[in-house]
């Protein structure tokens, strides 16, 4: 399965495509899509240039990012591992 992730244009924040086609700041709000539909979704999403700076697909399941880029995507979804007060992990506190 895949998830669409991007950086929000205005502030660069990490966002995920949500089931209602909006952007979620949390991975937990992301919509899981099948590998088969992924390319179609990303090509439509990439046209939303006023919302995002960059969009790409990551391997994921319901628990979070998986596969080769797990560490990188986990850090993106949480914040720097050396500053638990910053990023989304800090906002949760």
């Amino acid at each position: 399965m895949k998830v669409v992730t991007a950086n929000r244009l205005q502030d660069g924040a990490v966002v995920y495509l949500a089931p209602d086609n909006s952007w979620s700041e949390r991975f937990s709000g992301a919509v899981l899509i099948t590998d088969a539909e992924a390319q179609d979704v990303i090509s439509v999403i990439s046209g939303r240039v006023r919302e995002i700076a960059d969009a790409y697909l990551i391997d994921a399941d319901a628990s979070g990012p998986v596969g080769r880029e797990t560490l990188r995507e986990t850090i993106r979804s949480a914040g720097p591992t050396v500053r638990p007060d910053l990023g989304k992990q800090g906002e949760r506190a």
């Binding site: 660069g12 596969g67 720097p80 591992t81």
Partner: protein, 554 residues
């Protein structure tokens, strides 16, 4: 210090205005990200893992207190209360919003600062010795020459779209604190046997995936010909450097492919053509710029300070800090004070807005209003009276800025790594933090002496691992972080590229391996021998055994 003239002021303000328009067009959707990216990069604005990142130039590392306060203001107002000092005398903000960047650039322009030449394939922010104008061993202050290069290179129409980025560093001391041998062009001012001062010019040094030590292209260049000679080098590179492959586009590849003699021949030919064509500055213009860097009004003081000696005798912590963090000044009765941004367990090079304010205040009161940032990610106060050192130390202590570890094992260079950077393969900062904590907790740093540990999270080598006495390179192996050790590198006057010690180690293994390397050094060193000296005497194989002694077999 240099002050902007009307041309500098206009050019920077115009640039901010232009960028404001570009941001507006991007936000409105008038231009796409692909169109906007090269424009934002020309203004130092990157997109990293969590947010945008703004890289601000600190030309030749020199800052006034007013400028440092403005950097603090930006950190507080537009970022998350801190900045990160880089290995190229820049400061990076890790969380600015795109919508705020024009206002940030305006705030920078208010204090004669900008983010120009911090990205793109141009001549980047010129770097220098952080002790310039204060060092005991310099022949003259190198910064007027840095400023001349800055003015010549900023928006240079011919050199704004080079095959790749281009980095120039300048020193004027025998002891190289600016790593000039690992720059595209390294310049060393010295006095020749006839008593004339000029530049030794090196070309084709660099780190990254193909590290090289620079070659001497000219052993003595009369100072007044600096710009025409630089222009000749840049022109040969710009015309003939490769543009087909980004990894082969730096000047070091061209110099080493052509051979230094052939490359020198082309440069000399071009130089002969342009040398007398008005590229070089007239003497009075050089003098005008030099006057901005006149020494501050030093007092005539005895070499020794009774106040300092008394304080050092009664406060051991102060005595140690002074021994480790201060350096002899060329003016009797003064010292250079280094402020470490490497407290063990914290990200190397990070400084909070409050600490910036404190450093600005201390510089204003005790160092003629001047600060420097170093390529080793620390700060220094260039001109402090020895009589004031104890007061400076106490003020630094109050701001958590009195870590005494300059040049020691915990004074580690580390790039932002996978905690922030889109290019990284592995994290750097946690490795730096753990190594620093290990040595500092053991209380062995003074015994170990000078040790340069440098860590990069990918082969681009922003953490200078190739020139670490112990270098650590983070690599990705099927989604897991591994760390490769290199040994025997140096970025100083005895420059060398470290040798790869063997297979990569896990993040736990690498901490232990570094400790074993240091233990091996302590057990086998001769009197007065630094780690690097012992390595050069004993060789890779002996140290390699120490690395893999207890690690799992490959």
């Amino acid at each position: 210090m240099y002050r902007y003239d009307e041309f500098d002021e206009t050019i920077v303000r115009e640039r901010v205005k232009e960028f404001r328009g570009q941001v507006e067009r991007r936000l409105s959707g008038e231009i796409t990200e692909d169109q906007f990216k090269p424009l934002r990069l020309m203004n130092g604005l990157y997109l990293q893992l969590h947010a945008y990142m703004l890289r601000v130039a600190i030309p030749y590392g020199t800052l006034s207190s007013r400028q440092m306060r403005q950097l603090a203001f930006i950190a507080r107002e537009y970022d998350k209360g801190y900045g990160h000092m880089t290995t190229r005398q820049n400061i990076q903000y890790n969380w600015p919003a795109l919508v705020d960047t024009p206002a940030i650039l305006d705030a920078l322009a208010d204090v004669e600062m900008h983010a120009i030449q911090t990205s793109g394939n141009c001549i980047r922010n010129v770097t220098s010795d952080q002790y310039a104008g204060a060092a005991e061993d310099e022949v003259e202050d190198p910064r007027p020459w840095c400023e001349i290069i800055r003015q010549w290179s900023s928006f240079h129409p011919e050199f704004s779209f080079l095959p790749r980025k281009f980095k120039i560093a300048v020193t004027a001391s025998e002891h190289d604190r600016a790593a000039v041998k690992v720059h595209d062009i390294g310049l060393r001012l010295y006095k020749n046997s006839e008593g004339r001062t000029g530049f030794e010019v090196l070309v084709g040094g660099g780190l990254g995936r193909t590290p090289y030590i620079g070659h001497v292209i000219r052993d003595f260049l009369p100072k007044e010909h600096l710009l025409s000679y630089l222009e000749a080098i840049l022109r040969v590179y710009n015309l003939l450097g490769r543009r087909d492959n980004a990894y082969k586009a730096r000047i070091k590849i061209q110099v080493n492919a052509e051979g230094i003699d052939a490359f020198r021949g082309m440069v000399e030919e071009e130089w002969a053509r342009i040398k007398d064509s008005g590229v070089d500055l007239p003497r009075e213009e050089i003098e005008r710029i030099r006057r901005y860097f006149a020494p501050p009004p030093f007092e005539k003081l005895p070499r020794e300070s009774t106040a300092f000696n008394d304080a050092a005798a009664s406060d051991k912590g102060f005595a140690r800090w002074a021994r480790v963090n201060t350096v002899a000044h060329k003016q009797p009765g003064y010292a250079i004070v280094n402020i470490s941004l490497k407290p063990p367990g914290k990200p190397p090079g990070d400084i909070s807005d409050e600490q910036m304010e404190a450093a600005a205040h201390i510089a204003e009161r005790y160092s003629f209003d001047e600060l420097r940032v170093t390529h080793e990610q620390n700060i220094c106060l260039p001109h402090v009276k020895k009589d004031d050192l104890y007061a400076v130390y106490q003020s630094l202590q109050a701001a958590d800025l009195a870590t005494a570890n300059i040049g020691l094992a915990s004074d580690i260079i580390a790039c932002p790594g996978l905690d922030y950077c889109t290019l990284a393969n592995a994290r750097s900062i946690p490795i730096a933090e753990r190594i620093a904590e290990r040595f500092s907790a053991a209380g062995v740093e003074d015994d170990i002496g000078e040790l340069k540990i440098k860590i990069s999270g990918c082969i681009n080598a922003c953490g200078h691992h190739h020139v670490g006495h112990i270098g650590i390179l983070g690599v990705d192996k099927k989604g897991e972080e591994f760390y490769q050790i290199t040994l025997g590198g140096s970025g100083a006057e005895d420059a060398s590229i470290g040798e790869i010690a063997g297979r990569g180690l896990s993040s736990d293994e690498v901490i232990d391996a570094v400790e074993r390397l240091v233990d091996y050094y302590r057990a086998n060193r001769q009197d007065g021998e630094r780690f690097l000296d012992a390595y050069r005497r004993l060789g890779l194989d002996r140290f390699k055994e120490a690395i893999y002694a207890d690690a799992q077999a490959a």
